[in-house]
């Protein structure tokens, strides 16, 4: 009993800091989202859930939510599909390759997004030279895919590294035993590697989905949410409402909605991960 209370005492400072920097701001945002709060007009009054009622009828919100979900699903799927073969190749490669492949991940997103913006440029861009006729950032349909491409380029190395860690944890004996039993490589991959890799895959999915759902910097630098709001994600919509328009009440409501989505995704994945144990 005494040990337990001592443990609680020792953990208390950490818990207090966590509460201060994580829980309190979330609660403050929720509180603010129940207000009409527009800085310049000195409006600040409690309006209950009116912001959320408006949110449900706000076409721009739903389109941002759809864009965000699509971005997350496609980007994370592509990162996983490319990351897995890369991880298997890296398992054979040495430290140099492992370090080299991290390069895109190491470049600050704003910098790499600017670089890609020039690659996509319809007059000078290299990609435009290679694939003339594709209007990367100018057309609402391709602009989002251009952003997905940038995200995949940047974060596939991260996914590959997580999977590489998972691969290294698979005991070599199991694979050897399967080989002795005459299993073909494809069979080994699907029956041994993949099932044993599940926890690492789920972990990568969790990290990446949460991150992708809150995507801001890459898209903001590439298109600022344009053309015609086609690449506007929830974070960008919330940012513009909060800081460009100065509508703190509705902007907070948007942030709270984003938070709820991310929390939901996180809980689902954690449940899967928990089942693994």
């Amino acid at each position: 009993m005494k040990a337990r209370s001592q443990a609680a005492l020792l953990a208390a400072p950490a818990m207090a800091i966590l509460a201060g920097v994580a829980v309190l701001p979330v609660l403050a945002a929720i509180w603010l989202s129940l207000h009409r709060s527009i800085l310049v007009f000195h409006e600040e009054r409690f309006i209950g859930i009116a912001n959320f009622r408006f949110l449900f009828s706000d076409g721009r919100f739903w389109s941002a939510l759809g864009t965000t979900a699509y971005f997350t699903a496609v980007a994370v799927a592509a990162e996983l599909l490319i990351g897995l073969p890369v991880a298997m190749l890296l398992q054979r490669g040495g430290g140099f390759f492992r370090a080299a492949i991290l390069l895109p991940w190491a470049i600050p997103t704003a910098v790499s997004a600017r670089m890609w913006a020039w690659l996509f440029n319809a007059d000078y861009g290299l990609l435009h030279r290679l694939l003339p006729g594709v209007d990367w950032l100018g057309s609402p349909r391709t602009a989002l895919h251009a952003a997905i491409l940038v995200d995949v380029w940047k974060t596939t190395p991260f996914v590959a590294l997580i999977l590489l860690a998972g691969l290294s944890a698979i005991p070599g004996d199991v694979v050897k035993a399967a080989r002795v039993d005459g299993a073909r490589p494809a069979r080994i991959f699907f029956s041994i590697t993949l099932p044993l890799l599940r926890p690492a895959i789920l972990l990568a999915l969790l990290f990446r989905s949460l991150d992708a759902f809150r995507v801001f910097d890459a898209i903001y630098v590439l298109t600022e949410g344009g053309p015609a709001n086609a690449t506007e994600t929830l974070s960008i919509y919330a940012y513009k409402t909060l800081l460009r328009s100065g509508d703190f009440g509705y902007g907070s409501a948007l942030s709270v909605a984003t938070f709820a989505c991310v929390l939901g995704i996180g809980l689902v994945f954690l449940r899967f991960l928990g089942r693994e144990r």
Binding site: V40, F120, N121, D135, S139, G226, A228, D247
Partner: protein
């Protein structure tokens, strides 16, 4: 413990007192402004002069972030929090009505009577800093949209949209691969500027009884012209994703006949090594009727923080008067290529001699117009951008986009 508490209380008391009574010694005022580009020595020397002329006043400067929307965020949070650690600050032309309405800008009407300002400054620059007949900031220097053209490809600057089109078509027919008309169609504030110019060029007005009006015939014609420019190939599709720099580079590489942009482009295209050096002219934007088309007014104004205490207010007003004087404007033009808001500076022999480009900008500056001068503009601007972008990208018709934008604006203004 008790002693600590006493010290704390004493400190708090001192801090409170500091807010209420003038502390002894010289008055220190703080000026916040964006970097002026170029060697800051000349600007600092002029601030030095101000301090010599006003003994007992010390000026400290703080540099703002270069990106206008980042600076705006900073002011939004600082001023809402009642910050009084700066006294004079530079504001973007579109913030004036909004900040004034919020009560963040000191009323400068008595120190700078509107009649006097109207006599000295270009009309549009005073319109932009006036709300309900009161002056809330003084124009420092301006920026304005204008048309650049290739003197080797077209006979003269086009006066009408029809001329712009036919000149461009003729040049494009002779030079395959050449783009006709470049402008900024990316979804951002610059898109609003471009569309507003097209609306003004079609004799439109963006304010009706003090409210933003987008659902008008002129607006449909203006936005329709820009959309049609892309659809017909007069403008390349790349303008849909372009901001200033993308279009400036394409034009400077000799890949376009016409470019709508801001005055900074002039120095760039005339640099040694620029492929179009000596082949570029500039003029006011075209219009439907042939009268000089209005360019969007940009630029910076100096305002006084409403929260700064009375004994700093006087010195702050003096500093604003000093920095916006005719002499200061001449120096800004010569040293920093900043475009004067004062009418007389364009005729100053030193400017004519030392900065002929600026002196020649007078017709463009005279035609400038501010974006809708209403506290609601900043709130609405972002939603307007999204809708205009939809029309420019061809997602929906200009009429449809404008009526959607109008609905959003009405919703915001009805609050």
């Amino acid at each position: 413990m008790k002693r600590h508490l006493l010290v704390l209380v004493a400190c708090l008391a001192c801090a409170r007192q500091g807010r209420e009574a003038q502390p002894p010694g010289p008055v220190t005022i703080v000026l916040e402004h964006q970097p002026l580009w170029g060697d800051p020595a000349a600007f600092h020397a002029s601030l030095e002069r101000f301090q010599q002329e006003n003994p007992g006043v010390v000026v400290r400067t703080q540099t703002l972030p270069n990106a206008s929307d980042v600076a705006r965020e900073m002011f939004l949070t600082a001023l809402e929090g009642g910050a009084d650690d700066f006294d004079v600050f530079a504001i973007d032309v579109v913030w004036a009505p909004e900040f004034a309405r919020a009560g963040w800008l000191a009323d400068l009407t008595s120190a700078f009577p509107p009649e006097r300002l109207r006599a000295q400054y270009l009309a549009s620059t005073i319109e932009a800093v006036t709300l309900d007949g009161k002056i809330y900031a003084v124009p420092w220097f301006l920026d304005v949209g204008l048309l650049y053209y290739r003197t080797d490809l077209v006979p003269r600057a086009p006066k009408t949209y029809a001329e712009l089109q036919s000149f461009a078509r003729a040049a494009m027919a002779r030079n395959p691969g050449l783009a006709g008309y470049l402008w900024q169609g990316r979804q951002y504030e610059g898109l609003n500027c471009n569309v507003f110019e097209a609306i003004w060029g079609h004799d439109g007005d963006l304010l009706r009884d003090g409210r933003i009006a987008l659902d008008t015939d002129a607006a449909r014609a203006g936005l329709g012209f820009l959309r049609e420019a892309i659809a017909s190939g007069l403008s390349p599709r790349s303008v849909v994703a372009s901001a200033e720099e993308e279009t400036r580079r394409a034009f400077q590489d000799g890949r376009a006949v016409f470019l709508r942009n801001w005055p900074y482009v002039w120095a760039e295209v005339q640099k040694p090594g620029s492929p179009v050096r000596g082949k570029v002219g500039f003029a006011p934007l075209p219009s439907e009727t042939g009268a000089p088309g209005p360019g969007t007014l940009g630029g910076w104004q100096l305002a006084v923080n409403a929260h700064s205490p009375p004994w700093r207010r006087r010195a702050a007003e003096k500093l604003v008067a000093f920095l916006t004087s005719g002499e200061a404007a001449v120096e800004l033009a010569l040293r920093y290529s900043r475009i004067p808001a004062r009418r007389a500076v364009y005729d100053d022999p030193r400017v004519r001699e030392g900065a002929p480009f600026i002196a020649a900008l007078l017709p463009v500056a005279l035609a400038a117009r501010p974006r809708p001068v209403t506290p609601y503009y900043a709130l609405a601007s972002d939603s307007i951008q999204g809708e205009l972008s939809g029309a420019v990208a061809g997602l929906r018709s200009p009429a449809d986009a404008l009526s959607r934008a109008q609905r959003i604006v009405d919703h915001l203004e009805s609050r």
